[in-house]
Subunit: 357 residues, 2 copies
DNA sequence: CACAACTATTGAATCGATTTAATTAGTAGA
DNA sequence: TCTACTAATTAAATCGATTCAATAGTTGTG
């Protein structure tokens, strides 16, 4: 075809300059919409854009980033993508980023702390302009975020409360969640309610318990200590399931009576259902069970799991918006407002809970 | 501190050159292990490395890529990351890439075809050196890969058979999978076996059916046409579940007798279990159910789902290895060997199937 | 001893953009 | 008339590496 170099070398800015009859400088200014483009005549702009278009010009990301010292990327570091909890958060992040000029660079630390740090460094090397850490409940708080503090990189953490200078967090209101969970069971008539608390090291765990406790206090509901158990420290995404199985088996063996159970999260709840079934009982007939999170598979189990939903997609969006906000104000002194953002949980009614006969 | 410039400007190659006493050229050659480094004296190398180390030098990715025309990255394009099927494949890819100098750049098309193309272009713009497409069963075959063919970019597709020039695929041996599935039920004594086939447009679906059919032929097992149904075209990752519910309800209503059911995949199987339970029956007591895939949640449902495992992590690894291989031979003419790689499925025994009473 | 071949290192060009300071022209105010 | 400012455009420097051709020095060989 006429005009198309047989050598399929890339189309560069200079090609556009030649074709449009303006200098590379002007072309650059127009196409990258630099501040100076205010002074460029409208006709010039148009002609340059047309030339670029007709040549199919795409700026070279590397050259651009090298000179401008901007990457137009945001690092998204997930601690363990196999945790179903994460996926919807990612969706929220991606959707929010879509309308901007930022590109997410997603890395999965595969539940490995070293990997996490390695990828963290890689993201820094790639000069991401901001960072979103998706921290599932396995995320070890101790010191892992130390290095985040050093760099002055606007950072948001989703799913974990990390109150540090220049680091913002978005999490669900765990206390309210716990409150709602028992409230639901209470309103169904249950009074002997077992609770499987999360690992003690997890702040989520304690907050949810606080909510449960507060409700109990307000309604003079007796929480029998013998019916309150705690998951051991978690190792991988499904250890919650196994913990749920074991603790529930143990509760059943103990011959304590209970007609309902609040599980720390959905996986624990699924474990409880499994244990119940193993003992020849079933939910909700013999025992109502409520989970927490509303991970996708909660809707797919039989019975469908009644649970407290974390608005995961919203959490992703909220974190991203705040990050963008910090980035927009002034890139140099970008500071994420430090405070914590709490999102409201919601009760999702399915079939694992029922009115006490 | 002594030596540390208060202005925290980056450490560049020139700084290392100054400190080590060699020229930038030599430093570059040594640190990037270019071919010429064969001729650099061992002592020189050592001194340069030490200088770089002590300054904390990290090469600038953008400058490097600009000049060398290499990005050291591999694009990983997932059609829908919320499909549990994908996650383990990703893990396989990442693990294989870890020991190399390639960095995966992961993008999630969020089940949106336009998004897929947008991200595809973005990856090209970022000059990835190879591409891995993780295509779950929702991936629309028609024409979506057209553009892959144009660019001469080494490409592997996981989870879908795309036989195109210069595109390799890695999938599970679906026919064998189907064969194993009925075989298992047959050996448990089942003779009246229902089958929920996948959407007709899906080649997976037909292959699995072929396997089932072949087994039936070899063992003169009668497959009652009235017990064979087909899922409608899929829309989102969980439409298999709903399809499973509806078809199973329909089968139950039809009053045809069957003691076992082969579901197209795990989600469909979970749907079948749900429908069974809705009709007051349960698996495996009233009907044995076998799924396909072994997605993570198959182990968490009650009863645990007996299923045919796709070796997803291996599939990811295999695809990556072959891509690396193509990349290694000669970057310019890198060609992925076109042929399809079939991985063996395996029966995973859990509790949703049992011997016919 | 001349010539090649190899070792060891470097100067200078280059990748493709952005950005700064400079240039020109026009126009308004003192 | 001179200054000051704005509008419109551009030449040239720059970002931080890689790479190629060039330069010596050294060794081998016929």
């Amino acid at each position: 075809m006429a005009g198309s170099k047989s050598k399929s070398s890339r189309v560069t800015l200079i090609d556009v300059a030649r074709k449009s009859g303006f200098s590379p400088s002007t072309v650059s200014i127009v196409l990258s919409e630099a501040p100076l483009s205010r002074y460029v005549a409208a006709k010039t702009k148009e002609r340059i854009r047309k030339a670029a278009q007709s040549l199919g010009y795409r700026p070279d990301v590397f050259a651009r980033s090298l000179r401008s010292r901007r990457s137009h990327t945001i690092g998204v570091l997930v601690f363990d993508i196999s945790d179903p909890f994460c996926v919807l958060i990612l969706r929220g992040i991606e959707k929010t980023l879509q309308s901007t000029s930022y590109l997410p660079i997603l890395m999965d630390a595969q539940h490995d702390r070293e990997q996490f740090e390695r990828y963290f460094d890689l993201l820094m090397e790639r000069r991401v302009e901001g960072l979103i850490v998706v921290a599932n409940w396995l995320f070890d708080e101790g010191g892992l975020l130390e290095r985040l503090k050093d760099r002055h990189m606007p950072t948001m953490v989703v799913g974990r409360d990390v109150s540090e200078k220049n680091i913002g967090s978005v999490i669900v209101d765990n206390e309210t969640g716990g409150y709602i969970a028992v409230k639901h069971l209470y309103e169904l008539g249950h009074r002997r309610i077992a609770v499987i608390r999360g690992p003690g090291a997890l702040s989520d765990s304690n907050r949810r318990w606080n909510g449960i406790h507060r409700f109990a206090g307000e309604h003079s509901l007796q929480l029998d200590e013998k019916l309150v158990r705690q998951l051991p420290g978690a190792i991988d995404p499904i250890s919650g399931f196994e913990g749920g199985v074991q603790i529930t088996e143990d509760l059943l063996r103990s011959r304590q009576k209970f007609t309902a159970l609040v599980a720390f999260d959905d996986l624990t709840a699924l474990g409880a259902i499994r244990a119940l079934s193993g003992a020849g009982r079933s939910a909700p007939r013999d025992c109502s069970i409520i989970g927490f999170d509303d991970v996708p598979l909660a809707a797919l189990s039989t019975p469908g799991l009644t649970t407290i939903r974390q608005p995961m997609e919203d959490m992703g969006s909220a974190a991203t918006s705040r990050l963008l906000n910090a980035l927009g104000n002034s890139r140099v002194t970008a500071e994420v407002s430090t405070n914590l953002e709490l999102l409201r949980p919601a009760l999702v009614l399915r079939d694992s809970t029922s009115r006490l006969a």
